[in-house]
Amino acid sequence: MALASPASAPGIYAGVANVIAAVMLLLEFGMLRQALARDQVRLYAAQSALISVLAVVIAADRNLPDLYALAGLSAALKVVTVPLVLRRLLRGTVGDEEAPGVAGSQAVTPATAVLAGIVLAAFGFFSFGALGIRSPAAPPTALSIAAAMVLMAFGLMIVRRDVASQAIGFLSLENAISLAALVVAAGLPLILETAFLFDLLVAVVVFGMLIRAHHSRAESLSTADLTRLRG
């Protein structure tokens, strides 16, 4: 008896998509426990690069030439421009050293954060898997991993108490959504995808302006003092 019938074995495309998604999830864990902001930015750049690779794979597999353009554009923006802007911003805050208020900004210890991350990721993965969203184009595992990443990105924003990590949490949330979009909505017209990316760039600039404003007031990137407004 055959262990797996050919019909149920994932094809090359689905296999590659699943592997890329899994590595992206691992990088998300890296961001969660990484103490230094510049290392978080590196992990973000790596995660974004994987998105572009996945776009190329899907473009080749499903014969969607639009996606090559999207992959290039996404790489230019999310692998090069956004990390550069973020690094400059962080360096601009205190010479060449690590910005104060980032290292050790975890609200919980790294071990607890990772454990909570595992719980969140498992919850996202299995609950999404249970929904049973299937189509020939969408490998269900990659989609479930995207859901796990969305929850983890929220977790990252919650457990970190500095503006830089929170911004990176938002950007990795956007990566998770890009992953989901590539898996289930690869055919989305290029003009809309481009508009999404442009929008991201503008958002990064505004995040940057607010981070700078915060830094010039608080002399640190920590959000521990943002407690004036309540009730």
């Binding site: 969203i133 055919g187 505004v206 407004l229």
Partner: protein
């Protein structure tokens, strides 16, 4: 009509773009002209939209539902543009020019959102409103403004991330029926609703409700709202509360249309009811004990957004008509209340309710007008909100939602007592001795008088064209089911 639609997109955008480069007086004139022109353009559109939907250039679409929101946004834009002239009198030139530019761009992005035919473009427009308004919240450059702006941009962007996910699943559902090159246009999605796969649509609706609900200020994802509304400059607070929340509600209504066509209205209505009751309950209680006048009004906004969500959940045509009227009337009333609060903060030099004393004696116009705004927000006749809430409640009773209708009446009354207790303290107390009687600026009174007139007309006898428009919008939203 294509020219009108395009002009509506371009006029505020162009006004915003050139305001930075112009001297202050010119920026002022241009902003007021742009506000009034936009309102006039929407008025021109309404008779056409009351009879047919307008589709242009494959990405622009104005139907009855969008027209009502365009009317809301453009009216408040015009009112706030005039008000801002008086508000900025005390500020320096560079600040004023930036402010005018930001205000126009903010209005441009809000006006663009209801004109987008595609859910993807709608999302982009809403995201742009967030980005511009976050900068406007931060423009005061105080500790409070920086904190509020950061919370706002982070929470709203994260919420909009969920809304983007909702958009992706809407595409996935649509592509199953309409093919891979489907461009996320709303209309085909609603028309083929019955054939769409259920799970992705259900997921898309819930994510949209949570995501756009974050920007609309639904409890429990409302936490940015009181901070941003209280720390933003007053003209921006008025636009945030009256128009921006409405834009997010508009996006939810569009997903409601799709979900209703696919799943039937039971599931989306139940979800809206939960969020609506939670918002109304929390806001009605938080209205008590507020020390900041703008925070007080912010919680009142959460309350009214809850009423909108409950109204849609009732589903009866008369309730939906009430909801759409409520969007309009709330914008006029809350705009007035914030503009009045802005006059108080200028006159008394702070937002603390305890510092504002003797408003009726010291402010011959703004005092009584603020009182009228509070009465309107509390749904006293003959304001438009009385009519809209009356329609919502009667829709609830006629569709058998007795408990929810009773909860709505009780909690709205609780909020009324809280709001009027604070207002009494600010208006009917003896004025401080050092203050003299007089208004800071006539520019800050005229738009409020216009708002009162609108509230009165909406409450006593809404124009026939508007009633017709609302009827058409109700049938588009599935109110006849």
């Amino acid at each position: 009509m294509l020219a009108v639609v395009l002009a509506l997109l371009i006029v505020p955008l162009a006004a915003g773009a050139i305001c930075v480069a112009l001297p202050r007086t010119a920026a002022r004139v241009i902003t007021v002209l742009s506000g009034l022109t936009s309102f006039a353009l929407v008025l021109v559109l309404i008779p056409a939209v009351a009879h047919r939907d307008l589709n242009y250039l494959s990405y622009l679409r104005v139907d009855a539902v969008s027209a009502i929101f365009l009317l809301t946004i453009s009216f408040l834009y015009a009112a706030v543009a005039v008000y801002t002239v008086g508000y900025l009198k005390r500020h320096e030139d560079l600040y004023a020019r930036r402010f005018y530019a930001g205000l126009n761009l903010f209005a441009a992005s809000m006006l663009a959102a209801p004109m987008m035919s595609s859910l993807a473009l709608l999302w982009i427009a809403v995201e742009v409103t967030t980005i511009i308004s976050a900068l406007l919240v931060a423009i005061e450059d105080t500790d409070g403004a920086a904190e509020a702006a950061w919370k706002y941009v982070l929470i709203a962007s994260a919420g909009l991330g969920l809304a983007l996910l909702a958009t992706v699943f809407a595409y996935f559902a649509g592509a199953q029926v309409l093919g891979q090159h489907y461009n996320l246009a709303l209309q085909p999605l609603v028309e083929t609703g019955a054939r769409l796969p259920h799970t992705p649509v259900r997921l898309a609706f819930l994510l949209a409700l949570l995501g756009y609900g974050t920007k609309m200020g639904l409890v429990p994802v409302h936490t940015w709202l009181p901070d941003a509304h209280s720390e933003a400059p007053t003209p921006v607070s008025a636009l945030l509360s009256g128009s921006l929340l409405a834009v997010s509600f508009y996006a939810i209504l569009r997903f409601y249309q799709v979900a209703g066509a696919t799943l039937g209205t039971g599931f989306p209505r139940d979800a809206l009811l939960v969020f609506g009751v939670a918002s109304l309950l929390l806001a009605a209680l938080y209205v008590y004990g507020q020390r900041d006048i703008k925070r007080l009004l912010a919680y009142s906004s959460v309350e009214h957004m809850g009423i909108l969500a409950i109204g849609v959940s009732f589903g009866a045509p008369v309730a939906l008509a009430g909801v759409l009227l409520h969007v309009l009337a709330h914008a006029a009333a809350k705009g007035n209340a914030f503009m009045g609060a802005g006059v108080f903060t200028v006159k008394f030099g702070g937002k603390e309710i305890s510092a504002i004393r003797g408003g009726l004696d010291l402010l011959p116009w703004s005092g009584p007008l603020f009182l009228l705004a509070v009465f309107a927000l509390s749904a006293l006749p003959p304001s438009g909100i009385f009519r809209s809430e009356f329609q919502i409640v009667s829709g609830g009773l006629s569709s058998g939602h007795y408990a929810a209708a009773a909860i709505l009446i009780i909690l709205a009354t609780v909020a009324f007592f809280g709001l009027s207790a604070s207002a009494t303290g600010m208006l009917f107390t003896p004025p401080p001795r050092e203050q003299t009687r007089g208004e800071p600026s006539a520019w800050m009174v005229v738009p409020v008088v216009a708002g009162v007139a609108v509230l009165f007309v909406l409450g006593v006898h809404p124009p026939a064209e508007l009633t017709h428009l609302i009827e058409r919008a109700v049938s588009q939203l599935g109110g006849t089911r």
